[in-house]
């Protein structure tokens, strides 16, 4: 079956739907990882609907109770990767590294029809797979990623394996900008360039914030374009809210090199009512009557 194609308008509507669902959780539950959603909604919607070559979901759209951790008697449990379709070549695989983007990822799966309404309501409910910090049983997750910047090495291992086996398909890895402070990321890029992993793409959400504040004040990592280039990656830098730019950047030719797509984004994009909030917005509280009223009014105005 030929892959369905989506217009930029349809992808934008999907991004808006992701934002709307996360805002709903924030209103109902006193807060959520909203800013990560705002910065990455276009990126994830474009990856899922246009860029990545994924098969249909093999996961239960309603989610399942937590199936246990891997162990001698539990190796065949349903993996979170099922929601991204078959993991075999020639399909692509998607690795989300910053596990606190879990809610954003679940809502993306919901917005693109891989998770149902019943399923998404199970977000952060005790005993279900939609945990606040996802792990490899959580929908959309390939790895147990909560310790930042570890997933890229695993993803590169998969890309390397596909090369060794002569298999097609691209390994996509998504990272946040705070994660780029970890040495492991640079070790991985160094090796990906060394092994000429041109089947590997790293997409970064450069939203300029981390928990304690603006990234440049907590631990500067710029100039990222120059740093990634110097480490041997083909690097492109774009506006991470521009869907056409994301499509084009992800299709940049990178023979003999890994590709890095730096997406410059804004943590309040699509939710201007948050612009006046001056406190740290890594986790956005919606607790005070004013915060709730503001969020509700905006929610009602969303299409």
């Amino acid at each position: 079956m030929a892959k369905k194609t989506y217009t930029n308008e349809e992808i934008q509507r999907t991004a808006n739907k992701i934002r709307k669902q996360v805002l709903k959780f924030a209103i109902e539950r006193g807060g959520c990882y909203i800013t990560q959603t705002n910065s990455s909604a276009e990126i994830l919607a474009t990856l899922y609907l246009d860029v990545m070559n994924l098969g249909d979901s093999l996961g239960d759209p309603d989610g399942i109770p937590f199936p246990g951790v891997p162990g001698p008697d539990n190796m065949d449990f349903p993996r979170g990767s099922l929601y991204n379709g078959p993991t075999q070549a020639p399909y692509d695989r998607f690795f989300l590294s910053p596990a606190h983007y879990a809610c954003t990822l679940y809502c993306t799966l919901f917005a693109v029809g891989r998770v149902s309404e019943t399923g998404i309501e199970r977000f952060n409910k005790d005993g279900w797979i939609f945990e606040q910090i996802g792990a490899e049983h959580s929908p959309g997750f390939e790895t147990t990623a909560g310790s930042l910047a570890q997933t890229i090495s695993v993803a590169c291992g998969h890309a390397h394996a596909r090369k060794l086996k002569g298999e097609e398909g691209t390994i996509w890895c998504f990272m946040s900008d705070g994660e780029l402070e970890e040495g492991q990321l640079w070790e991985a890029i160094q090796a990906a360039a060394f092994y000429k992993l041109d089947n590997f793409v790293l997409v970064c959400d450069i939203n300029g914030q981390q928990i304690e504040g603006p990234t440049k004040e907590i631990m500067n990592t710029q100039p990222l374009y120059d740093r990634f280039t110097a480490f041997g990656a083909k690097t492109v830098e774009i506006d991470g809210h521009d869907i056409q730019a994301i499509k084009d950047a992800c299709r940049t030719a990178h023979p003999g090199q890994p590709l890095v797509v730096l997406c410059n984004t804004k943590p309040t994009h699509g939710m201007p009512f948050l612009d006046h909030r001056t406190e740290r917005l890594h986790f956005v509280n919606v607790k005070t009557p004013e915060q709730i009223a503001e969020a509700k009014a905006f929610y009602d105005s969303m299409e």
Partner: protein
């Protein structure tokens, strides 16, 4: 029961006033580890090292060798798992005064396996020179920094934040390598640490109501583990011992007590309550304590097994336990 807030925050800020060589290091979790007040007061002694914990550990070693007193703050897991080699080679080997203050210990975080420090004690007990501490209440926190300073060397502590119970009198500070006698009794010796102390106190109350007499020790120094009160309690206990910890039953408090029993030839049964050598997952604290059999009821069941009696205790009896303000040994 009295709950206190900002206990660590006040403590580290006061410590900073007394000891100008104190420096606080953070790896982008300062806002989650009660050190923002310290930063406000001593902005030139607060250093953000970014999300780069391995580097932070080595950096602290350099500062310590220059005469500073570095205290590193993060979630416990990020201060021992990923950074173990740096902790061993850069800090522990040199026996440097570097403090690793680990928050959200064990199952107290909903963040799942990547955030749950369920094998910190076990991992670090095999690291020479390392001192290991575990906090049980607000009083423990208040006396902690002076105690650890006196003891010297590198340390790792399982710390609490936000709302913390006051279980022990404020004028009876934590003591190095000296457990608190939280209850006197002779049927069973119960050893607890961290949140298991609060849960254990509930269990002991209910057990006392059913006529079981428990000697309960709240242990705050896990390494060294040479407190003579441990042997005394073990010798006194008619039926044997129960250990109850917010940790894997391998390598933690249970293992510490088992070693003491073997070394002293104390031939009595021991039941270890804790995470049963499993990786855990993310959910709310009480859900996890029940699911992994680390709640007060699991402690009671262990005592029942030890004394060979089913006391028919109901969950409601545990819920009914309300601590009066703690007045010394109860």
């Amino acid at each position: 029961m009295i709950m206190e807030t900002n206990v660590y925050s006040k403590s580290i800020t006061a410590w900073g006033a007394e000891h100008p060589e104190t420096v606080v290091l953070s790896a982008d979790l300062g806002t989650s580890c009660e050190i923002m007040e310290f930063k406000k007061n001593y902005p030139d002694r607060y250093f953000s090292l970014g999300i780069a914990e391995q580097n932070m550990i080595g950096w602290a070693a350099g500062l310590a060798r220059e005469g500073f007193l570095p205290y590193l703050h993060s979630f416990g897991v990020f201060l021992y798992r990923r950074v173990l080699d740096q902790v061993e080679m850069s800090v522990a080997y040199g026996n440097l005064p570097v403090g690793l203050v680990g928050f959200v210990p064990g199952l107290t975080t909903p963040g799942g396996v990547s955030h749950q420090s369920t094998n910190d004690i076990g991992t670090l007990r095999s690291v020479p020179n390392m001192r290991i501490y575990s906090i049980a209440d607000a009083t423990d926190i208040e006396g902690f920094l002076p105690m650890a300073y006196e003891a010297g060397g590198p340390f790792y502590v399982r710390m609490f934040r936000k709302s913390v119970p006051r279980l022990f009198p404020a004028n009876e500070p934590i003591q190095f390598n000296h457990a608190r006698i939280a209850a006197e009794g002779s049927d069973v010796a119960l050893f607890t640490e961290n949140i298991a102390t609060e849960e254990g106190l509930k269990a002991v109350k209910v057990l006392q109501n059913h006529g079981v007499s428990v000697q309960m020790l709240s242990v705050s120094t896990l390494k060294p583990f040479t407190d003579p009160q441990v042997v005394d309690a073990l010798k006194k206990a008619k039926y044997g011992a129960v250990t109850y910890e917010n940790h894997n039953i391998i390598g933690g408090l249970g293992t510490c007590v088992a070693e003491v029993m073997a070394e002293n030839g104390i031939g009595k049964p021991l039941i270890k309550v804790g995470v049963d050598d499993l990786y855990t997952h993310g959910a709310s604290k009480m859900f996890l304590l029940k699911k992994y059999n680390v709640d007060a009821m699991s402690c009671i069941k262990a005592v029942e097994k030890l004394i060979g009696k089913d006391l028919g205790i109901e969950e409601s009896e545990i819920e009914a336990v309300r601590f009066e303000d703690f007045n010394g040994v109860a």
